[in-house]
Amino acid sequence: MSNIESLLAKFAEIADSPKKQLDRFVSEGRKAIGCYPYYVPEELVYATGMVPMGLWGKPGSPSKAKEYFAAFYCSLVQMNMEMALSGDLDKLSGVIHTTLCDTLRPASQNFRVGIKNIPMIFMAHPQNRKPEYGIEYTTKLYTKVLNELETIAGRKATEEDLREAIKVYNENRQAKREFVRLAGEHPELVSAVARSAVLKSSYFMEKPEHTAMLKELNGLLAEAPAAEWKGTKVVTSGILCDNPALLRIFDENRIAIAADDVAQESRSFRKDASEEGDPIRALAMQFADQDQDTILYDPELNTRPPHIVKLVKDSGAQGAVVLMMTFCDPEEMEYPSLMQALKEAKIPVLKIAYDHQITDFGQARTSLQAFADVLSQKKL
């Protein structure tokens, strides 16, 4: 096994076993905080000496969560509730619950009243995040969240702690961006399945550890000789794209992921926070700078479609695959504009239904096989 393969195997093991990671942290005397999507400033958790753990659901169907949600709610949120109700999250010392979509709003209330043993830290981000009043609101919101975290941690986070946290996270974000680029250049070394595991594992690891492993991997990839890729390349877009069963179909059809616009992946590490000045304000400014996301208000009205077109062109992809999260209105609402922009740019696009409940990707397999042919033509 090469060094690259052995590192990828380590990432995969961690990505597949968040519960084992949580057990490990707790057994080491650490406290862990669950973080709902989207845009939770994990730096606040890190600065209080606790470990943030991403909560993006897990494959499967809700059973206990049906007591809280009708069937037409996104599986990510339902499966988070399912895990909490099943005791999988019992070892968490708290959960930060966001409210940026219409499912997360009531889900926050369900979590607060339904999960008595895990304190919920509530987080309502502003949509008018760019003007000064929006930055001020975010700063106050983050300060409140920090205070609640400090109570759980039993210690205060100093300005120095916060600055250090920002530095650690910036370094991790930079390493992830670099990895996305290198994985796009070396699909012969990093499969779609492996790529996903590398990125997903960071939600279940302490960032310095993830960064160290990732830098090692990036170094090896950077040194690897350029190889001709006989397959095709795409940009993926959606909330999640982390099911190995689906990603294996990409690999089997030699469809590499050149770049992504996935919430769990690149959308979460596009922007760094300033390492200068008031650290909480720096994090508020970082959120203000977030753009091109279906769950965020776009004051310029249409920046996301051209961003994705550019992503396809710059990354050398031949097409785009939209992983449409079932029952996700923000993604569904922005799909026609994205389609139109891709069509105008003559970029082939494939839309695949995606959620945690899908176990049989048979339909996706047929579509991806056909799409690979379309992309091959485009490559010629």
Partner: protein, 415 residues
């Protein structure tokens, strides 16, 4: 003067309040069309955007939610939804949004036509879906969007940082709309408009409160029709007057022992959620057959924005059904259930409204425990008839009836 003299000298028959209310809404749309013809900019506004701002500046505004409800009630919902789906919008998206997007794209909508927009007024206190819906239309027409973001609340109180954030957005919205209207914001006019809005809200709440009487002088379904005024014209004096007239009629009905509910009032229920507009007849039928009057709807407190100053106004706009915490939502409903003496709750699991239906299972449990009433849910949609099953609805109403009958006879308290 001649006209006044004529009015005084000629005894006229009192115009029924429902006609006055209908005329106010018709006037809102007629004035928007006239303004459009004159070349004035027309706004499309979400139902809980602070209407006071545009009204003060004399801007004519139409309400897509009201339009979508009207189109749906006249059975145009499915046609419009399918048009939006042909544009690529998923059938999972809110039916109002799909109808509105289709109309904005030129799909027609003769059931309730309104002029195409020149600016958009979006306030997401009602839902986040509104944000992308309005962005899509602003994008489609290349027009400005004025966004007031109301962060979701986790506590019954609205905290100071939220008020400060919202206030700053109001100020920015005023500046943006001054530019669009070409007029200066007149504080005196604003006070007058706010006074009208408060008067309308109080009159609306008063009219709704007549459901408390036993028997009720009205069928609660009437309120679904009358709420168009509180959505589209709450800042107008005529709306306040029309609601006051409605309250007077109810007062008289109580005295006369009459009611717009013409069936036995065997049971009284709260209808939870937005009605299935395309299915009003189907919703009503089993209720009237079993003598179940709807004497409570959540819309009463939802649109009763009453405030005394600017800070209270900010807080009032934080109190939309989908922006308040679970406890406030439960309290609103349980208060009206108690005041309006209901013995059952019929919950609409509305495919078009994720934020509303998202905590209904928990609310159902609380209604049963706190109120000891029968609670039954059914699946439906506010605008898309494809998401409603009449057979399921009838069965559920029958189930609710049996629970209520059993409780009435002193049967088991739990379901």
């Amino acid at each position: 003067m001649a006209e006044t003299e004529k009015d005084v000298s000629m005894p006229t028959e009192k115009v029924p309040a429902k006609n006055l209310l209908r005329d106010v809404v018709d006037k809102v749309y007629a004035e928007a069309w006239e303004a459009k013809k004159r070349g004035e900019p027309i706004g499309w506004s979400s139902s809980k955007f602070p209407a006071e701002i545009a009204e003060t500046l004399g801007l004519k505004v139409c309400y897509p939610e009201n339009q979508a409800a009207a189109i749906s009630a006249k059975h145009g919902g499915q046609r419009m939804c399918e048009y939006a789906e042909s544009m690529g919008y998923d059938n999972d998206i809110c039916g109002y949004a799909r109808i509105s997007l289709a109309y904005a794209a030129g799909a027609g909508g003769d059931e309730r036509p309104m002029p195409q927009p020149d600016f958009m007024l979006c306030c997401n206190n009602i839902c986040n879906c509104m944000t992308k819906w309005y962005e899509n239309i602003a994008r489609m027409h290349n027009i400005p969007l004025i966004m007031i973001d109301i962060p979701y609340n986790n506590t019954p109180e609205v905290n100071e940082e939220n008020v400060a954030y919202i206030r700053a957005q109001f100020e920015e919205a005023i500046k943006q709309l001054e530019k669009i209207s070409g007029r200066k914001f007149d504080e005196k006019k604003f006070e007058e408009v706010c006074a009208n809005a408060n008067r309308t809200a109080r009159a609306w709440l008063k009219a709704c409160s007549y459901c408390q009487h036993e028997p009720s002088p009205l069928s609660g379904f009437d309120l679904f029709n009358h709420m168009a005024d509180v959505v589209t014209a709450r800042c107008r004096k005529e709306s306040a007057e029309a609601f006051e007239a409605l309250a007077e009629e109810y007062e008289q009905s109580v005295k006369d022992g009459t009611s717009t509910w013409r069936y036995p009032e065997n049971h009284r229920i709260m209808f939870e959620g937005i009605p299935c507009w395309p299915e009003l007849q189907n919703l009503f039928r089993p209720l009237k057959e079993k003598g179940i009057n709807t004497t409570a709807v959540v819309y009463a407190p939802a649109f009763g924005f009453v405030y005394n100053n600017m800070d209270e106004m900010m807080r009032a706009y934080c109190k939309a059904p989908n922006s308040v915490c679970l406890e406030t939502g439960v309290q609103w409903r349980e208060d009206i259930c108690r005041e309006n003496k209901v013995d059952g709750v019929l919950v609409h699991y509305n495919r078009s409204c994720k934020p509303w239906s998202g905590y209904m299972p928990e609310m159902e449990r609380r209604f049963r425990k706190d109120l000891g009433v029968g609670v039954v849910g059914f699946d439906g949609d506010q605008a898309d008839p494809r998401n409603f099953s009449n057979a399921q609805y009838i069965t559920r109403v029958e189930g609710l009836y049996e629970i209520m009958e059993s409780k009435k006879m002193g049967g088991p308290k739990s379901e």
